[in-house]
């Protein structure tokens, strides 16, 4: 079972690497952030797969990862709203334009 679960964990890591390619390429900031989000879900999956091997306390790490993944994403949309405190669902307030590198 250890070998199988380890093998599966590696499979998820490979899929995580795919998400990283998207973080590298972008092109938009939303693409990159979504890539990080996907990486987070993959990380949770790896931790679940490792739980029977490394001990079930690993699941606590997974729970925290899930929690903070959501926080990072909310922090992202908030930070990049027009006044730093907005909500993309609101009527006004478009995201801050990029001052520098467009492909950033």
């Amino acid at each position: 079972m250890t070998v199988w679960l380890t093998f599966m964990a590696m499979g998820v890591l490979v899929s995580l690497a795919g998400a990283l390619v998207r973080v590298w390429r972008g092109p938009g900031r939303a693409d990159r952030m979504t890539g990080a989000q996907l990486a987070g879900t993959s990380g949770v999956a790896v931790l679940m797969l490792l739980a029977p091997i490394e001990g079930w306390a690993t699941l606590d790490v997974a729970a925290i990862l899930a929690l903070f993944g959501a926080l990072a994403a909310v922090g992202f949309v908030k930070a990049l709203s027009a006044d730093g405190g907005g909500d993309p669902e609101e009527e006004d307030g478009d995201p801050v334009p990029l001052a520098g590198d467009r492909n950033d």
Binding site: T58, K78, V96, D104
Partner: protein, 311 residues
């Protein structure tokens, strides 16, 4: 087979670190850094250090990432997110970095076999009052480190507040937040806090016997506060609110009082008598978790701002 998993993980950690340093654009670097923290948490699990994995997942991947994202947003609004075009490849820096890595690799090879305080620790652990050895080291054997560390957080926060503008000093902390009523963000802000409080309290509570503790749990509680603030559910307080300032210092104060109590009882500074060590550590952990939660949340939310200065 397990070796292959470690190799894959290490390769990915390195690749992500390189992407953080070498990729164009500050935003890309920040996103890679968030992923980096996440992968490190996996590495800590593989190294049998679940306590560290918890701290890394919460602080390294979570809070630090939010901190940088918020800073990026603020820089973008000041028009300071742009980077200068990359100059020549900095060969001197590359050589120095390679030398540093080389030196550490050499040191690893030259390290003598582990000389560690194993027997002494094993002898001391039953008298520490908690079963989790990491908690025993943090809150009993090396309590002075931990007490100082809790005031390092405080020093950072007071220093951060000094960066506020004078005219903004009496404003609430951070930027004003608003959301569409009944929208996705608002409902998210209502659902997450109860779950987060549960998880945070659980992590603090189990810390005595299993991986977890005040720092990890406090960080989860800080995240709850940040989400509630971002979702407009609660308004961050003003610096002038003394109850909140009391919450900042409660943990270090209880810790220091416990240490002085030991001295007053004749046992010695920071000595927790064996009979009451367990309950004393529990009390310290609860107070510390509260203060850590408030301090970390305030560190991420930022100094008081009017929200009007940008443009």
């Amino acid at each position: 087979m397990t070796w292959a998993l470690d190799a894959t993980l290490c390769a990915m950690i390195l690749a992500v670190a390189l992407a953080t340093v070498l990729g164009r654009g500050v935003f890309r670097a920040i996103v890679f850094f968030v992923v980096y923290g996440l992968l490190l948490a996996l590495a800590w699990v593989r190294l049998d250090a679940v306590d560290v994995a918890l701290a890394e997942a919460a602080i390294g991947a979570g809070l630090t990432g939010v901190l940088f994202l918020a800073a990026f947003g603020r820089l973008a609004r000041s028009g300071a997110d742009a980077e200068p075009p990359p100059g020549r490849v900095n060969i001197a820096a590359a050589l120095a970095s390679a030398a540093l890595t080389g030196a550490l690799v050499w040191a690893w090879v030259a390290l003598p076999l582990p000389g560690r305080p194993g027997p002494e620790l094993a002898e001391a652990l039953p008298r520490a009052g908690v079963e989790n050895p990491v908690t025993a080291v943090l809150l009993n054997f090396r309590a002075w480190d931990t007490l100082l560390e809790s005031v390092v957080l405080l020093a950072a926060l007071v220093g951060l507040w000094m960066l506020a503008r004078d005219e903004a000093w009496t404003e609430p902390l951070g930027l004003p937040q608003h959301v569409r009523p009944g929208g996705v963000m608002a409902s998210f802000g209502r659902i997450l806090p109860p779950v987060g409080v549960l998880v945070g309290a659980y992590v603090v509570y189990v810390g005595a016997d299993r991986p977890g503790g005040a720092f990890q749990g406090g960080t989860v509680l800080a995240a709850v506060g940040i989400v509630a603030a971002l979702a407009g559910l609660v308004r961050p307080p003003r610096v002038t609110r003394r109850a909140w300032r009391a919450a900042l210092v409660a943990g270090p104060a209880v810790f220091l009082a416990a240490g002085l109590g030991g001295a007053a009882l004749g046992a010695g500074f920071l000595t927790l008598p064996e009979r009451i060590a367990g309950s004393a550590i529990f009390a310290i952990e609860i107070a510390l978790a509260l203060s850590i939660a408030v301090t970390l949340a305030f560190l991420v939310i930022g100094p008081p701002e009017t929200g009007l200065e940008d443009q």
